[in-house]
């Protein structure tokens, strides 16, 4: 790929920057020492940034996978005849739940589950469930009635209709919901450092607590890049996965 082409692929160079800083932050120690001469050590050293990233990503992955599975399952249930009565309730839960500040959900999980990664993952799951649930319901309902009628009339069973018609057609909208959910999860998990989880946010809090601004900057830059790279990756995935016949996904 030629240089200008490379520049036009933001995913590639932000990812490159992220990986470079993830491994190479200690190499920037002289820069931090020059900017903040009184701070020792100049680079966060309680653990490697790679370690922090893996822990952070692990929690986000765990929470998001669970939220995706539960969200899609609930949405399927809500759109079946059996679940119609619960539909209004599920809608209400989703809208009311999204009003709750993610930080509050995280904080409330602690008295129930103690400190460490557990409350963070539970909070990630609960809060991440809602965008996926909302989008999955919208996507499933957007499947044209004529298509479902034809499918039923030709002899596809209910499970076959769900697997071959409804879910593939709803996939772009569901993916958009997963993207929102994961992006929020990365931020919420970062706050999870306050309850004992190990994430890229940990240097931020260490820095705030010990008045070490370089730590704050290092943690903030890496967390921000993590979120941006993930969002761009999802955008690329959405473009790649667009079925030629289905409606384009919302931005």
């Amino acid at each position: 790929m030629s240089a200008p082409r490379l520049l036009k692929a933001p995913l590639l160079w932000t990812a490159a920057l992220f990986i470079a800083l993830l491994f190479g932050m200690p190499a920037l120690a002289p820069v931090f020492r020059w900017g903040f001469p009184q701070v020792q050590p100049p680079v966060f050293s309680r653990g490697s940034f790679l370690e922090l990233f893996l822990s952070h990503a692990g929690m986000v992955l765990a929470g998001s996978v669970a939220a995706t599975a539960a969200g899609i399952a609930l949405a399927v249930f809500a759109t079946r005849p059996a679940g119609r009565d619960f539909r209004a309730l599920i809608d209400t839960l989703a809208t009311v739940g999204q009003t709750f500040p993610p930080a509050a959900v995280l904080a409330l999980a602690v008295p129930a589950l103690g400190f460490g990664p557990e409350p963070t993952i539970v909070a990630l799951f609960l809060y991440g469930l809602l965008p996926i649930l909302g989008n999955a319901i919208a996507g499933l309902e957007a499947v044209p009635a004529a298509v479902l009628d034809a499918a039923e009339g030709m002899g596809l069973s209910a499970w076959q209709r769900l697997r071959d018609i409804e879910l593939p057609l709803a996939a772009p909208v569901i993916l958009a919901g997963i993207r929102v959910s994961v992006t929020i999860a990365i931020g919420t998990a970062a706050i999870g450092s306050t309850v004992g989880a190990l994430t890229l946010g940990t240097p931020i809090f260490d820095g705030l607590a010990g008045n070490k601004l370089p730590f704050v900057i290092q943690g903030a830059v890496l967390t921000a890049l993590f979120a941006i790279v993930t969002d761009l990756a999802f955008a690329a995935l959405q473009r790649r996965l667009q079925p030629p016949g289905a409606a384009p996904a919302p931005a």
């Binding site: 004529a146 034809a150 009339g153 030709m154 002899g155 596809l156 069973s157 079925p243 016949g245």
Partner: protein, 307 residues
């Protein structure tokens, strides 16, 4: 053969289909005809159990349809609807091969069948098999929809106002195709429409419905010339029915022996309406008639048309 016996369907207190009995012989093209809300679509969808019926019995090929698992029944019956319901995320070949795939056909067999059907509908297989529905015109989508319904070679084909949403020129072409395919394959077709002219053109037997009940059933000529009730007479077009009747009868039925007419002859197999059109255009009251081989067969006069 499709036997509908004393079938009823009640929906929200209203008898949508009321004590309907109808027998559709093998190989017929039976048109369920009537105004909106008369129950014709409901009746169609009861045949493949998309709508359950509340009373009576329906037998397809001698078998009570309630004894067969619904999915199995539907895979044996072709189903084509007005908005086609083509799966937007699948190519034409995958759409057409839907039921064969459900039945477990081999890849090769499915591929051949798709080619065969596209050719039947005069769509170039290599051009069309890889397209997506949104890349097709309205008429092309309808053809693919019907091809999909025929893919597994069912004995019965159900069609629910399939041509109502296309423009008149395309509709005319599609009607011709269906008539041609019916003659070629001999399948039993049940066709729902509210358009009397479409019914008269396509049907071998017409069942007119009014408010859930069968108003009259019979061959097209019977419906037009001997309407059984005021409703049927109204629906067929009252005085205008006369012209429809002319379209259904042939010159061979009314011609007289003799040779007292001059000018371009008309074929004995042509309709009386075509004869009337020719007479009007040439400002004459008589035409010479020839048979299919071109030999003189007689004369037809204006008086013969209204006998």
């Amino acid at each position: 053969m499709i036997e509908i016996e004393h079938v009823a369907k009640v929906y929200q207190g209203r008898r949508v289909v009321d004590d309907l009995s109808l027998t559709i012989p093998d190989g017929a093209l039976c048109v369920l005809l009537g105004p909106s809300g008369c129950g014709k679509s409901t009746t169609l969808r009861m045949i493949n159990r998309l709508i359950p019926f509340d009373a009576g019995e329906i037998r397809v090929g001698g078998e009570d349809i309630r004894r067969v698992p619904p999915e199995e029944l539907r895979r044996r019956i072709g189903y084509a609807i007005q908005s086609t319901g083509l799966f937007p995320h699948w190519r034409v070949e995958d759409n057409i091969a839907t039921v064969p795939r459900l039945l477990g056909w081999s890849q090769q067999r499915m591929r051949d069948r798709v080619t065969e059907l596209l050719e039947l509908f005069r769509l170039d297989p290599e051009t069309y098999r890889h397209k997506y529905p949104h890349q097709l015109s309205g008429g092309e989508q309808q053809r693919v929809g019907v091809a999909r319904a025929l893919a597994a070679d069912p004995a019965v084909l159900l069609m629910d106002e399939p041509f109502a949403a296309v423009d008149p020129i395309v509709r005319d072409a599609l009607q011709g195709e269906i008539a041609r395919i019916h003659r070629a394959t001999g399948k039993t077709i049940v066709f729902v429409t509210h358009d009397i002219d479409e019914a008269l053109r396509l049907a071998t037997v017409i069942a007119i419905m009014e408010r859930g009940r069968l108003a009259q059933s019979g061959v097209p000529l019977e419906i037009v010339e001997n309407p059984a009730s005021e409703f049927v007479r109204e629906f067929v077009g009252r005085e205008a029915a006369g012209l429809k009747s002319l379209a259904l009868r042939k010159v061979s039925e009314r011609l007289q022996p003799g040779d007292g007419a001059a000018g371009e002859p008309i074929e004995a197999a042509a309709s009386l309406r075509d004869a009337l059109a020719a007479m009007t255009a040439r400002r004459t009251d008589r035409l010479p008639v020839v048979d299919a081989a071109g030999n003189p067969a007689g004369v037809i006069t204006l008086a013969d048309l209204v006998r």
